[in-house]
């Protein structure tokens, strides 16, 4: 039976125009405020548990007397290859680094590929070769995986998801809520190299710069740090959203203020130059082979020396301190003034002037 449409209903003021549904925008994936809200409002309420609530890079699960770290990450970088790396090595390093930020020694990786119809098999094999090489170099096998193909136009060539498990040795308790006022903030090297390297080859933005991604597996650096014996409150790799977003997350998790010493943050000359030209801030560009360590003041020198003693941490620096106060990030400028470090609004965009 067909219902008759009542013309009066159409004219009725109660028949409001349909509300435009909210949609996903790119900022939701940029690792900043919009990402956090998307998770908090639309996803976490349906999955609520203590591990997610810790807002760490991975979860630590106790099973059969062991503490297992478990994490996953999906890689959608464009272009697939960039100076100093490619999506394959990045997918291995990214997940291994999330495990390392839990203090875990990695055991095994999984790898799932989403391939777009039309992708050159040769390009696929290059990525597979890179995944294999990076996993072998880290001494961690890829033990399981999955492959799916989507129609042309439904994917950006190739997406990679990796997951990893590792074992957390006794005595390692790394979480944002363990960060305390008085902790020193250390970074293992110059920030923003990965973000600048990818931007330098992105369509429409290409500029000539000798900037290589810092993509690297941080597990050996973390082991070197713990071998030196300092107490460590938390580790974080400043990937999407850069150092700035990482510090905001930790400040929120710790319920404390972080004061960043602007002049102490290591940034390479080419990255600074690229940022000047594009109107970007290196504090918000991703690193894929750096870590930020929060260490009680009494252990700061030991930790810094341990980082500097490893090839991945040669240029490590002390960049700030955690203070009592509202959860926020304050920058002490080179001129001695204090200002807020803003939370990035989304992916860094080149400015008009």
């Amino acid at each position: 039976m067909t219902a008759k449409l009542d013309p009066a209903a159409l004219a009725s003021p109660s028949c409001a125009a349909p509300v435009e549904p909210e949609r996903v925008i790119l900022s939701h994936g940029a690792g900043a405020g919009a990402s956090a809200r998307l998770l908090a409002e639309r996803i976490f309420p349906h999955l609520d548990n203590a591990w997610l609530a810790a807002r760490h890079d991975g979860a630590v699960i106790e099973a059969a007397g062991a503490r297992l770290a478990f994490t996953t990450d999906t890689f959608v970088v464009h272009p697939l290859e960039f100076p100093g790396g490619d999506i394959g090595s990045l997918a291995v390093h990214g997940t291994l680094n999330d495990l390392a930020m839990c203090g875990a020694r990695p055991l095994a990786l999984s790898c799932a590929l989403v391939l777009e119809e039309g992708l050159a098999l040769e390009a696929l094999e290059r990525v597979a070769r890179a995944i294999g090489a990076a996993a072998r170099a880290a001494g961690v096998p890829v033990v399981t995986g999955d492959t799916k193909v989507v129609e042309r136009g439904k994917g950006d060539g190739l997406f990679v998801n990796t997951a990893g498990i590792g074992v957390v040795p006794a005595g390692r308790e790394l979480r944002p809520d363990r960060v305390r006022p008085g902790d020193a903030v250390l970074v293992s090297g110059p920030v923003g190299c990965h973000g600048a390297a990818v931007l330098s080859v992105r369509e429409g933005l290409a500029f000539e710069a000798e900037i290589e991604s810092d993509s690297a597996c941080l597990a050996p650096l973390v082991e070197a740090l713990f071998e030196a014996g300092p107490a460590v409150s938390c580790l974080r790799d400043p990937t999407r959203g850069g150092l700035g977003a990482a510090l905001h997350e930790i400040a929120a998790g710790a319920g404390a203020e972080i004061e960043l010493e602007e002049a102490a943050v290591p940034v390479t000359g080419p990255v600074r130059a690229a940022c000047e030209i594009l109107g970007l801030d290196p504090l918000f560009l991703a690193s894929e082979g750096r870590l930020v360590a929060f260490v009680p003041e009494a252990h700061a020198e030991t930790a810094l020396a341990a980082l500097r003693g490893h090839p991945l941490g040669r240029a490590a620096a002390r960049i700030g301190v955690v203070r009592e106060g509202r959860p926020r990030v304050v920058v002490r400028t080179a001129l001695g003034a204090r200002r807020l470090l803003p939370l990035p609004a989304g992916d860094p965009l080149p400015r008009i002037c």
């Binding site: 949609r23 405020g33 001129l335 400015r351 008009i352 002037c353």
Partner: protein
């Protein structure tokens, strides 16, 4: 990095601050015109360093902020057309019109691209012959020559599918309007150095004379801003009102005649509404009749809409004229934030309200600039 490091070196900046304070017998009110300068002042904390000698009033100089709502709405309507690819600079894409921003239009299926140069938009038109590529052109006189050059290239290549939606604005008429406003508190201007790089300083001479106001063409690094303020203070102390150039490494009095000729071959001066300020006589630039075939305003006349009203609560006009400091606005940081702005200066990263929201640990008035 040369041309940057020496203008940020803390010792040099602090020495210049001391010299300025010694030269100043009272607290002068100086307006920096450009959002880039405002950004530098707040990011480096210069306003606090200079506070004894100078009150820095922040000017209207963020072209993204003053782009009128009706232009943004027109860009949104263009982006929603299935035959149009809309291209613009990155920071335009986040600026909300009355129905959302261009990123939202993209999420709903619109073809919206970020370009770094107007020439990239021309290249896009060449690559997409079946689509109409519209470049949303914003900016002060600084960016106009590049857009004019891109139009010349498009015409030379016979690209009938390329057009420009122009929202360019001119600085000098805005300075006059601000200085002449009855409630004006401005005693000297730091003019935008990059605008003068193209335009030179000649058009500021009559303004300085007629309105008895020192105008110093100033750069964007901390030392530039302090030096510019120091030159303005020297003039104010001596009772002078001249045009001076602080940004000598980039600005000559005659500007860049080649770039200027290119700009005015394509564009002409028109009255233009500035968001938050209203119509500024001779305050904008539009495509000349001879370039009508590339003018999105003429090509898509059906998209011209009424100017939607701004929220009554927003006091952007007072802020942009230096009458109201952002943290003193009742809506600041509460009902008006960068994520849900009431008005223009909270919109762009370089807008003055956004700069306060992002950078200020606490205002001298005691109100904390909140952090989300």
């Amino acid at each position: 990095m040369r041309f940057v490091d020496e203008y940020r070196e803390p010792g040099a900046v602090l020495r210049a601050v001391d010299a300025l304070k010694r030269a100043s017998t009272r607290r002068w009110r100086i307006m920096e015109v450009c959002g880039g300068q405002t950004h530098a002042i707040l990011a480096h904390g210069l306003d606090a360093l200079l506070a004894d000698a100078v009150e820095l009033l922040h000017g209207p100089g963020c072209p993204v902020c003053v782009t009128p709502l009706e232009t943004l709405d027109r860009a949104l309507a263009l982006a929603e057309r299935p035959d149009v690819t809309l291209a613009s600079f990155g920071d335009m894409l986040r600026v909300p019109g009355s129905r959302g921003d261009l990123f939202g239009a993209r999420a709903r299926g619109g073809d919206v691209r970020v370009v770094y140069s107007p020439l990239d938009a021309v290249a896009l038109a060449e690559r997409l012959p079946g689509r109409r590529v519209v470049f949303l052109a914003v900016g002060f006189e600084t960016t106009v020559p590049a857009v004019a050059g891109a139009l010349r290239v498009a015409r030379a290549r016979g690209l009938a599918n390329f057009a420009v939606l122009a929202a360019h604005v001119r600085v000098p008429p805005a300075l006059e309007a601000i200085r002449e406003a009855p409630e004006s508190r401005v005693e000297a201007f730091l003019a935008a150095g990059h605008v003068c790089t193209v335009m030179g300083t000649a058009e500021y001479e009559p303004i300085a004379r007629r309105l008895r106001v020192p105008i110093v063409a100033t750069g964007f690094e901390p030392l530039d801003v302090v030096q510019g303020a120091a030159l303005a203070v020297e003039q104010l102390e001596r009772g002078e009102a001249r045009v001076e150039i602080q940004y000598r490494r980039a600005v000559r009095p005659e500007g860049n005649p080649v770039a200027r000729a290119l700009a005015f071959e394509v564009f002409e001066v028109v009255d233009r509404p500035w968001r938050g300020i209203g119509v500024v006589p001779a305050g904008g630039l539009a495509l000349r009749e001879a370039w009508a075939a590339f003018d999105a305003e003429r090509l898509f006349p059906e998209l011209a809409g009424e100017a939607p009203p701004e929220p009554a609560e927003c006091r952007a006009g007072d802020v942009l004229r230096g009458v109201l400091r952002p943290p003193a606005c009742p809506a600041f940081g509460t009902r008006c934030t960068p994520e849900s702005p009431l008005g223009a200066p909270m919109v762009s990263a370089e807008g003055v309200c956004a700069a306060y929201f992002r950078y200020r640990v606490a205002d001298p008035g005691g109100r904390e600039a909140g952090v989300a």
